[in-house]
Each structure stands twice: as structure tokens, then as C-alpha cells.
Symmetry: D2
Subunit: 353 residues, 4 copies
């Protein structure tokens, strides 16, 4: 389908003034098949988007509105929800009932098991029936399910990098699933725009720390997907860290190999697994990902090293947490749901340097 | 003209592996009317572009070549020259003689007066006759001349921000031209990719300094353009500083007002002056530019404050030094020279945050 | 006097958990003549200092307390006040009445003229009588007054850098006082630890902006001091900017020279003016300050350039906003008030890189 | 021993103009028991130290000299060698023969086994006999040996953080030594001041990458020390990464626990192990190290988490790579060798923020 033949779908963003919200606005504002119709915001209702984000001056004329759910559903074909966990359920429920397509960027529909959700997120789930209908929005694994879905649970940023890095290994039985360690490092935009001491410039700049050690909420999401790939329960050690950069997640993943294999053989396996995927780049042997190579793009870069001395494989993946880790992947999902070219509004290399 | 109707011009970049070179590659690789045919490089001849810049992996299949000038001219319609000053003259000369369009991103054709060039750049000028034929590539002031030119001297990064900030004031006689002070701050990419202690991470990070005080080579270029606007010789104090960021120049410009005027009246004057210009945003009163709002874009943001106590106007402008300050403006010039839409490959807001 | 002969004075900090407060704690905790006795805090009362600032773990055993003014005065010989403007007056008043020495790091006693204070700070001044008794705590200009004072108004960070940079010129009539422009750039710690969008990492990092243009509250303070030096009213243009670094202020100051003079002659004048000052370094000709050279120290670096083409001098000064611009200078003042060596707890070069 | 009773030893630095060299100069210039007598430099011979590092202006009057080994040995009591690997051997050999004390900050004497050295560093070792005499300069493990040694091999930066983090676990048999994974992240100063694309500001800033995966030369050093602690051969996966900060290493270490144990019990074990050590802080439960808490100090912070779900312990350690990871630890070793207080010139908390 040519760009010019695309029928424009009407798109709204619920929670448009957070970082994932404004990233959706940026991407969608140059989408040839989408028209932004409504942006809702709790904090800045009544103010034009460019007053909240002056870089949008002359690019976005919309005004942030308080959420009026019936009107929103009425006017939209596709609804993106960029709200904190626990707040997406009512919006998604009504929108799906109203026959609209929904991509939820929060955590409310990612975990298939309600009890796991409630144990890790400490809130009750108000729409268990929707969990079954929701597709897990990682197109590289679930493209067909996404294409048919009316509700897509957009993956978390850390799970996107970790699962894409491990999928070929687990699917092909190349590692011992009990030995997986995921050491991940994220830029600060992953913490959102809300104010906290943890995102104060002086506390982050020239600093580096681990956080949420052995307790981060993305752990069960990672384990759910790795278990599906392995065909058996998988438990992982997952440690996120805070990098003094705006964007990007680099994940360094360790696992014991099931048997002797060369780096070249593993890379060949990855290249087969991801053949035809527009947003995964398996890098040539000897080149490992760097976050700057993917910042601002929807690409996930993957590189490998084999450590013969220890019998382990080290997988390194890099994504932009706001693009492939959030808003870009959400638009990729919309593209699949609406029959647009999968890379519409998402193509192109990163800004360098 | 529709994008799809554009006839593709064949484009080459001489000096493609510096930061301005690779930025040209990034922009041109998504230009609907241009096809990259040759990339030359002194340091990396024989290597694919993505080996030098891995972020281009899967986006650019070209290999860097040693400069073969006759072949280059033969195969190209438009030639961008991204070489250090003094090296552009022979390339430009032959290319123009060969009937090709040339945009030079260096300093060799910016100064109309050969002696001024030789005094500040300490090299002899080998093609004085070309100086007259070269258009100064600031489209907001010289669009028609650029459209007719076969050789365009792309402005320096600092002059772009300074001249756009002062043009409406000088053109309308609103300030005393003898009182102009330009305090400018640039990101590190302006210094290029060549290795030097001054761009070592540890020397720049958490640091800030002035450099080239009362001696920077962009001074005569700024003065040439301000003098043309004022219709009389203008001398300025210009102080560049090095910011610990990758991209962006913020210029804070001071001048004594010729008479009483409000900020609103001045802004009105700016809005008239820049009406219809696709890449200048005159910001609303009370909002002053920030470099993050323009980083990655071809936009020049302008904001004003009037200081009643001192009778001075303070003009603040922001550009991305590699885009509007170099490669983006070069493509803007090519668009004008070739009859493409002026914003082809250059539209869109910045990545934020 | 030898370090070991110093009699320990009892020192308290009112407002110890802001950045200037904790910097006082750091400096005073290694002061051979001072003993920290009380730290007050509004936000963290009842918590040990190292719980609020874990880098102090094993270095500071004190617990933050709510302010109990009579007890504080009773137990302290010297009281540092690190509170927002408007809050220092009652503390300073009682402490001075109680016969204690006070150094106020806020703005409440800096401006000699109550009406100027009230016009710029928008609050009423509750202790005009104290304004006359307060010494302006810039030791390089007022050492003897400080030595006799019981109340010292510690200068603002921007005024410290600007006034030290201009004092020799104005005192010696070398410039036209009507042409002074101060373009200053500060690290983020100058904005304090309070949460605001303006100090969110993602909003500051890779960004740069001017703020408070033609309206910053340090303007009247700078003008007061420059007027005293010039012996006539001086008005300046002062523009602060926000640098994406933790610490440091670099000020670039412009003024028209009163007559022909060489850079060497000006430097000689500066060297005479600052002879014997332990915390001012007049740099050799050709070397201009960089903030990294003074970060973490109480030093003010000064460098000069003369622009023969425009008849202007450009003065560049660098300080650490939290040390010479706040807590270090406050301890320097205490040292003078108590008869300690002026550099006690303040000597030594910066950490580099 | 009181500071004032210390007899001053004459100290020289071979290779004084690299980052570890200048850090030695900074620390030693405030050491009450040491007098700097000679600084050698290959690149800057004949220039005063402050010309190379202007932050030392007024603090260091010494001039860098070409290495004249006999004269250096004649005039020095203690010699620090801060040269690239392979270059220390001749200097150390003669100095030790001349009866002087030597601390080598390079890699030449760290590995006890010559063949391991030659396999990883690809150079022949010219003084195998010295390997036996050299003490491994990690005072927390080898204080007595260091006190008696005339040649101390100062540990690598990564090994310092990794070994201190694992020592109590291995010594007490609390983990399975075959499961150790060390994921370390270092600031850029660890790469030195030499120019390379890998330390260009624009390539590092806003970026993050792994390097030397499964091949970094600190691996055999870490394994040597862990093997001594475990009493059996230990092999580890060690992955260094490059952080966009100047200083600091944070190491995240994973290992499978040998049996059930609580975090509190482990912390108790660490506190016993490091009781009385002046430069190790075992943080309270629930607090994990951040590099900013130790930057500029000789402290190693250690924090722990136990992951009950996976049966692993996660140890996080933080050091300043130039202080505890290099020059500070070297001075700590000198203090032990010379009978000075171990923390002379090394005490005090970090600069924050």
C-alpha cells in the first residue's frame, strides 16, 4: 500500500503530557495514515500542547483536554492509553466495548495471570476478562495475534530489550533457562516526567546506581514471556540501573550455553529468527550495540559474545526506551492493527552524534 | 510539486565521514528527491559507511572512496563539500566549471573580501573569481540569489544564529550597531570528530569555558552580514563558549535600542520579517529559546526581552549547529537550488526529551 | 596560629539539608577549629544526616532537628543560616541579640536599601535596623568590616563572580560603567534541591537556556556593589543561563575601556588589586578560566582579553557556586570573624578530571 | 603518630601527566608526611605542571622532567610508577635494587604467574624474579605483606571493586564459586587522557556500551584473587561498560548462594570481615551504593540484596576508579609501607552533589 492511499484513522492519546504521551504525539504527527484528534491530560487541561512542550510550537495545534470518555470513544478510531498502572482498565474496557482499537502503554494488560499482576502491582485487577483478549504487543513474536486484536498490551521497556535478546536462544533450546541474568541500564526518561528526588538533575548527573534489585515489576513480565518461549517456567535475576542519559536501555544478558557453539552459529540462528523483522538488527560478529546507535529510533540492536572459558553466552541489546520501549512500539502495533506498513512514521536511522 | 513527482538528483558528499558529512548522509538518505551516489573520505576509504558509523547499519550501503574528482563530477548533479577550510577551492572550481551545483559547508566562499579571508584564515585564496559567483547560503536573506547560484557558501554555525537574531533589528534601524555583543554557546559536535584534548570527554564533561575570545574566525563573517543589513560597517564583540552537550548553539545577543519600543512591538517586527519562512520560529512573548527545542531540527528559534532599565534588547536564538548550522541548511539550499519543496527531508519537531 | 592551637567554636546550621546546608556540613566537618553541634531541617527532622545524604555515612552522626531557636542560640557560637529569603530575619535577629556570630547565606541582609529589597523580592523587610549592622561578606573587599561584624550577609553566587571580575576595573576607572554586560552561566545545584520541572534531569541534560532575563534578583545586588566601587550609580545588563553541570558559574563580562590599555597592563592591575588574597587567582595572559579548574574549591579564577577592534575588555571569571558562591565563602567569613586562618578547611586544588 | 611528627618522605611520580599521575600529585600535595620532589613525563617535559593542568596553578610549582632514572632513584624515598603496562619493569627493578620503596600503578606486577601475564598482555615479562617480591596492594587483604614490601603492585580499578565485593562470600564459603558474574560500569577517566575516538565527548555523551566482553585484561587479575580467597580455581564472567561520567565504577555482582541465608546475616558477615578497615563502608540493609557517594574519595561502598526467588545474592560495590581504584589506593599503600596513618591525605566524604 502506498503512503498516499492510506485512509487516515482518527487517533487519540489519553495521558498526552507525560514523556510517552508526547512521544506518541511526535511520532503520530508525522504519520501519513493517522490524524490526531484528542489529547487528554490531567495536569494541563485547557492548555495547548506547545505551552506544555514548547518544542511543539508550530507543529501541534491541539489543546489538552480533561478526559471525557464517551466523547473520546465517539471521535476516535484508535486510542492510545499512556496512564499509570491501574488507571487504564476503565478506559480500555469501554473503548473495546465501543468497538475501537486500543493500545495500552501501561502494565494493566501485560500479565496474563491476574494474581501475578496483583502480587507485584499491589492493586486489584478490575477486568480479568480483558486479560484474555489482550494481545501482548511484541510484534516480533505475536504479529498475527496483534493484527486480530482490538486491545494490545504494549510491552514494558525492559521486557522488550530482554525478551528480544533471549527469544532465539530459548526457542531453540540453546541455553540453560535456570542461569539467566539480565543486567539492564536505562536512561532517565524511563522514570517519566513526574517530579522526584530520583530524577533531580544533580542527583542523577555524574551518578549511577542500581534500583529495584530483585523486586522490579518488570520481572514477572519478562518471566512470563521467557516461559512461553522456553515451554517451561523460567525465573530470572533482573537488575535495572539508572544511566545519566535521557534515552536508551542497554541490557547485558548472561546465560550458560546448553552445549558447545560458536558465536557465528548463534548469530546465524538470530538472523534466521529475526529474518524480515523491520526493527531488529542482528549486528555483525565483533560489534556490540551502543544506545546512541538506536536512540530516537524504533530499532532493537542485538549483539553476541561467547565466553569459551565459562561456557556462557553474553547477549547485549539496545533500544530507545521511549520508542521501541514504549511509544514507537505502540505505533508499530497500531500499524499492524490497521493494516498500515509496519514502519509507517517509524523508519530512519538515529541522530548521530 | 508533490513529493512523488520529484525527479531524483544524484548527490555526492566530499568529506562524508566527519560529523557534518554523516549528518548530510542522514538527511539525504531520507530525501525523496535525492539519491546518494558517492561518499568520499580521506581517513576511511574502502570501508562501508556503517563500519565507520554503525548506527547506519542497514540504512546506508555505500562505501567511502578516495576523492576521484573527475569521476565524482561526472556522476553527480549536486556536490556537497564538507572539508576543512582551504581544501574546498579546487573541488568547487572544477565542479562549477563542469556545470554542477555545489554547496560548500566550509569557510572558503563565505567572505566576499579575499583579504579579510586571508587575514583571518592565514591561507591564500586560490579562486578569487569564484567569490563573486558564490551566494551566501542563508535562505532567509538570500533565497533568490541561492536559487540562481551554482555555488553556495553555506554559512558558519555561529553566524547563522547571530545573523538571524539581529537581521530584523538592523534592517529596521532599531538598534545602535556599535553596541552589539554576541555571547554564544555551542555543543561539542561543532568541533568535529577529529581528536583533540579539547574534545576529550573528561575535559569537557562537567566543564564550561570561553574560547577564541576576540579572535574567532566567524567574527568577520558575522560582521560582513550585519554590515550588509545595516548598510554601514558593523563591528561586534563575539565570544564563543563550549557547552557539555552534543548539539546546539544558543546565542545571547545584546544591543542598545535606538529608541523606546516594547517587546511586543519588536516581536511584531520579527514576525513580519520572517513571515513565510519555514525554519524560523519567533516565539511568543515571555518564552525564550532552549537548545533542546531545536536539537535535531533545521529550525532557528528566536526570543526577545527588552530591558527598560538599561535600554537594551536581549535577543536569544537557538539552532542545532549540525542541522541549521551546517548540513540541514546545506540541504535547504539544495532544495532551493533544485526547485524542491524547501523543507524536503527537513520537516518535523525535535526529539524530546 | 597553628591548627592545633585553635579553640573549637560551636557551630550550627539552620537549614542543613539543602545543597548549601550539606555543603556547609562537608566543609565544617573537616574544620580543625569548628565543632558542628546542631543541624536543623524542616523536611527531615528526626532523621540522621546520612539518611538524607548517604555519602555522609560514617562521616556525620548528627540528626536533623526542627528549629528550636532559643536552644540553638544557647548552644552555638556561630550560626549559619541557609534558608530561603524572608526566613532568615527572625533567626538572625535573635541570634545577634544573643551575642552570637551569624552568617546568613540568603538574600535578606545583602541589599543595604530596604526598598530595593522589597521591590525585587516582593516581601516586606522585618528588620531594617539589622541592614546597617550587616557586613557584606565578600572578604576581598570588606575583610576588616567582616572581622568586626556579628552579622555577615554572604553574597549571592552570581554577584560573587561578577563583582570580583569587575572590581579592579571600576576602582581604577578603567571602563565606562554604563557599558557593563554580564553574561553568566551556572550549574544546576544553584537552583537547590527542591523539586521543579526546571531541575528534572531530562529537561536540563543536553539542554541550555537563559532565564530571569532582565529580571533576576541578583541584579540589584551586583549593581549595589559595582556602584560602591565606581563611586557612582551603575546599572548593568545581567543574564543568567542554566548549564547542564552540577557545579560552577562562569561569567563573561563585557565593558568598553575608558582608554587604550594592553591586556598585560590590565592583568598587572588585577594582580596588585588581589595581591595576598588567598582565594583569587589572576591567570596568566592567554589563559581563561574554566569551571572545572575551580569546582569543589573556594577559588575565584579571573582571566582577561582585550578586544582592540571594539575597544572592549572581556573579563571571564569562574567559581564553584556552592563553595565560593555560597558555603565556602560563608566559612571564609567565619574564619575571618573568629580569627582562624582564612583558608582553614578551604585550601587545596580541585578534583580533576 | 601525630601528623606534625611525621618525617617527610621524598616522593616522585613517574608518568605524572596522565590522569592517575595528576591524581597522585593532587593527593600527595596535601599529604603531611610526603614531599613531592620529581615528576616525570614523556609528553610534556620542560613544562610546569600547571601549564599541563591549569587547575594546579598556584598549587604545584614543579616542572615535568624527562625520566633520568639514576637521579630519580637518588633523590626519592618512594617512587610511584604510573606508566602503561610493560614500561614499569625496568624502573621498578632499579628502584628496588637501589633500596627504594615502589608502588606500581600498572599491571606489570599484579599477576603472580608470568605466563598468565604474557598470555593476556601479549608482552614478555622481563623481571619474573620481582613477581614473587611484589605484594598485591589491596590493603584490606594483604596489609601486613604490604607493610613489609619494597614493591607493591597496585590493583586494577575493576579488580578492586570486584574482589572487595566478593571476598567475604568466598572466604566464608557462602556462594558457589562457579556462578560468579561481574557486570561493571566505569567512568571515562579509567581510559586515561590519551586521545581516542572512544573518549571523544560526542561518542561517549548520551551513550553507553559494553567493551572487552569476555576478553578484558582485568579478568585474570580478578580470578587470581578470587581463587586465593576461595582456595580453589575460580573462573568468572566479567563485562566492563563505559559510563558517560568522569569518575566512578559500580560493579553489580551475581552469585548463587551455597545455602539459605538472609541479607541481614550476610551483611553481618561483611561487617565482621571489614571491621576496622578505614576505607570500606558496608551500607545498612536496603541501601545500595551509588557512585556519587564515593567519587573523589578512597572509600569502597558495599551493599547487598538477596533474591529468594532465584537463590542468588546480588552484591553492589562502588569506588572512584582514580582514587580507590588507582592513586588513592597507591597512597594508602605508601602510608602502610612508611608507617603513616593509613588515611593520611585520604580522609573525608565526597563532594555532593
Amino acid at each position: 500500500m502506498e503512503v498516499s492511499e492510506m485512509k487516515k484513522v482518527k487517533v487519540s492519546v489519553v495521558g498526552a503530557t507525560g514523556y510517552t504521551g508526547v512521544e506518541l504525539v511526535r511520532i503520530l504527527s508525522r504519520h501519513p495514515g493517522a490524524e490526531l484528534v484528542k489529547l487528554t491530560t490531567q495536569s494541563y487541561a485547557g492548555r495547548r500542547m506547545w505551552e506544555v512542550y514548547p518544542h511543539l510550537y508550530s507543529f501541534c495545534g491541539l489543546t489538552g483536554e480533561k478526559l471525557d470518555l464517551p466523547a473520546l470513544i465517539e471521535e476516535s478510531d484508535v486510542i492510545f492509553i499512556a496512564l499509570p498502572h491501574g488507571h487504564s482498565v476503565p478506559v480500555a474496557k469501554e473503548a473495546v466495548q465501543g468497538g475501537k482499537k486500543v493500545v495500552d502503554l501501561g502494565a494493566d494488560f501485560r500479565l496474563k495471570d491476574r494474581r501475578t499482576y496483583e502480587a507485584w502491582y499491589k492493586v486489584e485487577h478490575a477486568a480479568e476478562e480483558l486479560l484474555k483478549r489482550a494481545a501482548y504487543g511484541l510484534p516480533e513474536l505475536y504479529r498475527e495475534e496483534i493484527a486480530r486484536a482490538s486491545l494490545v498490551a504494549n510491552p514494558g521497556c525492559y521486557p522488550t530489550g530482554a525478551v528480544l535478546g533471549l527469544a532465539p536462544l530459548l526457542k531453540n533450546g540453546l541455553i540453560d533457562p535456570d542461569t539467566i541474568i539480565i543486567d539492564a541500564k536505562s536512561g532517565v526518561s524511563g522514570a517519566g516526567r513526574a517530579l522526584s528526588l530520583g530524577t533531580h538533575f544533580c542527583e542523577v548527573n555524574e551518578n549511577f546506581k542500581a534500583y529495584g534489585v530483585a523486586s522490579h515489576r518488570h520481572t514477572p513480565e519478562i518471566e512470563q514471556e521467557l516461559s512461553r518461549l522456553a515451554g517451561r517456567p523460567v525465573t530470572v535475576s533482573f537488575t535495572p540501573h539508572l544511566l545519566p542519559v535521557n534515552r536508551g536501555i542497554l541490557s547485558t544478558v548472561y546465560a550458560s550455553l546448553a552445549g558447545p557453539v560458536t558465536c557465528g552459529e548463534l548469530l546465524e540462528c538470530y538472523r534466521s529468527f529475526y529474518a524480515g523483522q523491520p526493527f531488529v538488527r542482528v549486528l555483525p560478529e565483533g560489534i556490540l550495540p551502543q544506545i546512541k546507535w538506536v536512540a530516537g529510533t524504533n530499532t532493537c540492536d542485538i549483539g553476541l559474545a561467547v565466553d569459551l572459558r565459562t561456557g556462557r553466552v553474553i547477549v547485549v541489546t539496545a533500544i530507545d526506551n521511549l520508542v521501541k520501549g514504549a511509544s514507537g512500539q505502540a505505533v508499530q502495533n497500531m500499524n499492524i492493527m490497521c493494516g498500515f506498513p509496519e514502519d509507517a512514521a517509524l523508519a530512519g536511522p538515529s541522530l548521530y552524534p
